[in-house]
Symmetry: C2
Subunit: 430 residues, 2 copies
């Protein structure tokens, strides 16, 4: 078998957590790759600082450089692996690599979701020359969901909705809040202490990371690209321990989901990121800790789930090495085959949970009822956990089917009431 | 885009539930396929009885035949889809098709698991000429787990264990028994009335269907083929309502699983089918009804799950059409790349649940304790739900880590006791 082993020269851009994982997997599995007909030679490693000490053994013979031109100008390099992250140098690497007619593998969801159109044009242009672009690690870390969607589902089937826990940090925090009753602040501190959350946690807790990923999944499954800034995005920082107590009463869990779906008989697309009330009967509700899950609802297949580690050195690196193998074995599909002319609907229908923090007084229920009635929002139930502090009573209404826009007007009105202590929190039901 | 559309001539063998689904999906999605560069023409349909009425509209222009030679001798046919099932005519179709250098797609897990070696040889011989063999629908119906394993996981990663709910009929029955407390017989009758279970339910309830599937998954992931008849297989027909009551006490569910795993530092393989006590913290436990789930534990990726409909016209047909697309777009990987020299271990370690039905008497616990002690099996706990009938008391012991072979000796000894009403039921913990 090893007589026809092709050597694939690789430039690794980034030598951090994921880059180290890629090096280690390649080292440990090279003999298996040879039985498949290839071997990887990590020829060049692009880093910011060539003298910085790494937490892994650099591959034998690899040349460290801080100059990306060393890669673009090296004709022997077939494949670029971008694991630097961010929108700066990573963009230079990905765009420059494709233009230099090299195949590119990246884990960079932010880069792809921000520059999807440009990347797609580059890929369409240069794939004619055999170069390929793959990004399995960009969504769901180690879960091979991108390839399942691209290759197994969107051809044979018509995807109606994709919903997922796409950010492990926030899912870790929400699981903690659910299981211990702790505050948002305590859950964040613990996630930071454990290294799950960054010092500046904004990208995670405000849902921006999940937003990039659902944007990408929406492009892949519904065939329409909606820019990050056009996606309604609510994070988890306004959630309190009370919300988890109410969720239990509703036999549900609270999960930060990215959701995209076809609406209006397949002419429109809805997309948003929000904490969502998920009934415990749905597999999403029992996906805990840093685990990610993607639920795909499609016409013929029905509902499928893909569950696994959403981040981490080896899970992410496995996806990258999988992409490297597929490209090198010349089996990578052309990306983005699906294009559909769907109109984005910024509004969306659903049932909603609204938590209102009030100073206890008379007439509040009547006023809440009147505000909802004015907007045509029908109240499904009123929930009240035992009151412990009359100066700050969290109570919840759930609505019948209505529109997110109407709920926003209701929340705006409620916020203006003298007894309303802070802006009410509205969450859709799944 | 449509200027370069290649027509792929297809012979559909079998025009039942799944065959009808394949025809309908192709009809409805032909325009999408054209944008990918191909269209399917179902030219010939092989059936037993050409005059039988079908429950779906036959494709325009398709010729019905009961003679398989019409397919083998037709050089214009590129692709054979086998959805007849069984080991008779289906074998003729699959083997003959590969020998006639046509690509073959099948959903037939029994055929593949019984004839894996011969099929593999045929595929290796004829894939050189470009013909391909695919069988996504053979395991987990609509879940694209075979391709994820073959393409995304076994190259880049080292699979340690695969466990799955691989049979929807029995999972439907177990879910019913768990949720309603009904008997095995009542659950079977309901499944039969609903058309989930056959008049002769043996293949499902005795685990033979799940066994074919885990045999196949074992071959794919561990690289070793273990014949169906060499796989330890326990079905669900000895389970009673009591077992589900005891499972609740153990904060677990009972699921019929096929399990294969690497043991002895990667030199051995263990494989069995059995009802298993699954803790409610594992996603497998909440997979209910006819849904299938496959859990994959691998070295780098950790634990991933693939969940979806395990059977049914459209889920199964989606997998078949996905295979047809992939083969026609010339992207299908060569199957079975992984071969490992693992020794089968027919014994396996684990913790066990043993339910013993007794006629109440004194000295029973002492005798049970002595039997376990003689065999070196350590008892972890003794469980007793309230006794309603002193003539038939089900009680349960759980063991500490031991070997299946020792548990079997314990069960044999217990069965011989005068107070033991029937053979005790032993189930491993996941």
């Amino acid at each position: 078998m090893t007589s026809n082993v092709k050597t694939v020269n690789v430039a690794l851009c980034g030598a951090g957590i994921v880059g180290g994982g890629v090096c280690q997997i390649i080292k440990e599995r090279q003999e298996v790759f040879k039985t498949l007909g290839i071997q990887f030679n990590i020829k060049t490693i692009l880093v910011r600082n060539v003298s910085k000490k790494r937490d892994f053994e650099l591959p034998a013979g690899a040349k460290l450089t801080d100059n990306v031109e060393d890669i673009f100008s090296d004709d022997s390099i077939d494949l670029i692996v971008e694991v630097m992250g961010g929108l700066g140098a990573a963009k230079t690497v990905v765009f420059g690599g494709l233009k230099a007619k090299k195949s590119v593998v990246t884990a960079n969801k932010a880069l792809i979701s921000y520059h999807l159109n440009e990347i797609e044009e580059l890929v369409n242009t240069f794939s004619k020359d055999g170069s390929r672009f793959a990004f399995e690690a960009a969504v769901g870390g180690g879960i091979p969901v991108i390839k399942s969607l691209q290759r197994d589902i969107i051809g044979a089937d018509d995807v109606m909705q994709v919903s997922g826990i796409l950010n492990g940090t926030t899912n870790y925090m929400l699981t903690k809040m659910d299981q211990t009753g702790c505050s948002y602040e305590a859950a964040l501190k613990e996630a930071q202490d454990l290294g799950f959350a960054e010092a500046d946690p904004t990208a995670d807790v405000e849902g921006h990371d999940a937003r990039s990923k659902i944007s990408l999944l929406c492009r892949l499954t519904l065939g329409v690209w909606i820019k990050d800034e056009d996606i309604s995005c609510t994070g988890i920082s306004t959630l309190t321990a009370d919300d988890f107590e109410y969720a239990k009463i509703l036999r549900s869990k609270i999960k930060l989901l990215g959701i995209c779906k076809k609406v209006n008989n397949g002419t429109g697309a809805e997309i948003y990121v929000s904490p969502v009330i998920v009934p415990i009967s749905n597999t999403i509700s029992s996906t805990n800790g840093a685990t990610n899950i993607v639920e795909v609802r499609s016409k013929y297949l029905g509902t499928t789930y893909y569950v696994g580690a959403g981040a981490g050195r080896f899970p992410t690196a496995t996806s990258i090495v999988g992409d490297m193998l597929e490209i090198s074995l010349n089996k990578s599909p052309k990306p983005f085959p699906l294009k559909q002319n769907l109109t984005q609907h910024t509004d969306y229908p659903g049932r909603f949970y609204i938590r209102i923090n009030i100073r206890d007084a008379t007439g509040i229920i009547r006023t809440v009822g009147a505000i909802c009635e004015n907007e045509g929002v029908s109240i499904h139930s009123v929930l009240q956990i035992p009151i412990t502090d009359k100066q700050n009573v969290p109570f919840v209404i759930t609505t019948d089917e209505t529109l997110a826009s109407k709920v926003k007007v209701v929340v705006d009105s409620l916020e203006k009431q003298p007894w309303c202590l802070k802006r009410p929190v509205a969450l859709p039901f799944l």
